[in-house]
């Protein structure tokens, strides 16, 4: 059955149709094609927009998150009018406006080992626009097992990476490149490290380009090529990737043939529900600060963050410098450590305790909770 383009579609896609390398055939293939976007955020936004604009027949959006104000610095498929709305619904509205010919299916759920195959099977191309390691490994393994190309993109601060994992075409998969994930906390996230808003725009658009090429069957894709982008120096580099014949998932003798527990694989254990004695709430810290014997306050954030707002009478030593500056701290003094959300300060407290500091506690929830529970004049960010 030949997919036909209506007169309206022919007018809409005319700039594609008159491209010699593309033409009616390329456009038909896009219309017959389907792409599943895992993640409708920073990378997913430009991806979804450009795939819809191009006329991909069917786009699936997987995201369980809700639009937040801080997303709008980079997640351009959403808007101020959709703050509080599910990202999938927010994106669907935008895509329907941009191109009503595209069928958009939304999945307000997390991809898990239980649903991954069912989610991915109906689609030709999988695009990985996620923001955490367990999902990346899951997406990789599932797409390899289903024989589908996985268009990968990732970002951090000012740098991005992109490639196409497609072992069926002789290239590597994600595990060939990184057989094991970093332990949690070692590689910072955007929330901790920040990200230039336009960066996922560039990488997401590159991913969209690759998905379009795969569907239309044109050009040379990024299979076996890792594209590296540095926004600050505006440099693109390329590294060669190879399929590892011993890869446990896509190798000659695979040992991983079923989806596993990826949180466990990435060393993420469920959060303990109980309060440990090394933790203290912002309200308790505030009370203590007003007593006759207040604690020493240690802020382990970066200078930029200190500028945004800090607790009164605090001392700042960045968490990464702490190990080398322990001699500046008094082990005899009671100390409360804080950061933005309680994560870095938690790590700092672990390190201080290991170094012999007994009177040190982590302020849970960090500045964010302080702003909510104690003093809203300290801004959240």
């Amino acid at each position: 059955m030949v997919t036909n383009l209506s007169n309206e579609e022919i007018r809409r896609y005319s700039r594609h149709l008159i491209l010699p390398e593309f033409g009616m055939e390329g456009q038909r293939r896009l219309k017959e094609g389907s792409v599943l976007l895992i993640g409708a955020g920073g990378l997913g936004s430009p991806l979804a927009l450009y795939l819809a604009a191009a006329g991909v027949g069917h786009i699936g959006l997987v995201d369980f998150d809700v639009v937040d104000e801080s997303n709008l610095q980079r997640q351009i498929a959403h808007g101020t009018s959709t703050i509080g709305v599910r990202k999938t619904e927010s994106a669907r509205r935008r895509l329907n406006d941009l191109n009503p010919n595209v069928e958009v299916t939304t999945y307000e759920e997390q991809v898990t080992s239980e649903n991954a195959f069912e989610l991915m099977r109906p689609y030709d191309v999988i695009v990985d626009g996620t923001d955490n390691f367990p999902t990346r490994y899951l997406t990789n393994d599932a797409s390899v097992m289903l024989g589908k190309p996985n268009v990968y993109g990732s970002i951090f601060r000012f740098e991005g990476q992109a490639t196409v994992f497609y072992p069926k075409e002789g290239g590597p998969c994600y595990r060939c490149l990184y057989p094991e994930p970093p332990p949690p906390g070692l590689v910072p996230s955007c929330a901790e490290g920040g990200v230039l808003g336009v960066l996922p725009g560039v990488i997401g658009t590159i991913q969209a380009t690759e998905a379009i090429k795969l569907l239309a069957g044109i050009g040379e894709t990024l299979v076996s090529r890792l594209m590296l982008y540095d926004a600050l120096s505006m440099r693109f580099r390329e590294l060669k990737l190879r399929r590892n014949p011993d890869c446990p998932v896509c190798g000659d003798h695979p040992t991983v043939t079923e989806l596993i527990d990826y949180d466990h694989f990435c060393g993420i254990t469920p959060e303990p529900a109980t309060f440990t004695s090394y933790e203290i709430t912002p309200v308790e810290v505030n009370t203590w600060l007003h007593s006759d014997d207040p604690p020493f306050l240690l802020d382990v954030r970066e200078p930029n963050e200190w500028e945004i707002g800090h607790l009164p009478d605090a001392t700042r030593i960045s968490v990464n410098e702490l190990q080398g500056r322990l001699n500046e701290l008094d082990t005899a003094r009671e100390m409360v450590v804080y950061c933005r959300s309680g994560v870095r300060s938690g790590r700092a407290v672990d390190m201080l305790r290991a170094a012999g500091f007994r009177k040190v506690k982590n302020m849970t929830g960090g500045i964010l909770r302080w702003s909510d529970d104690v003093d809203a004049s300290i801004p959240k960010y």
Binding site: F156, Y178, A191, L239, L241, R242
Partner: protein, 97 residues
Amino acid sequence: MAVTISIPTALRQYAGNNAGIDLASGPVGQLLASLVEQHPQLGKQLYNEQGQLRSFVNIYVGDEDIRYLQGVETPVPDGETVSIIPAIAGGRDKMTR
């Protein structure tokens, strides 16, 4: 008369905020050892307690992964670039939600 080690953004804070560090040419293992001697905090990020390169960090000489060359013995000629490429995922800190 030098080679450059390119430091990725995620690790620059451990390398004196340098994006690139120049060293005299030699086998890549030796270059990394010099680098880590100058920046011990970087060493903790790159190597585990057993002194092995962590598996989520890949080392390239030019555009080839050293795993497919001669590993840490891979020679690095003058003018070549050694790249440290860690895994990055971007986005979510699981514990702040």
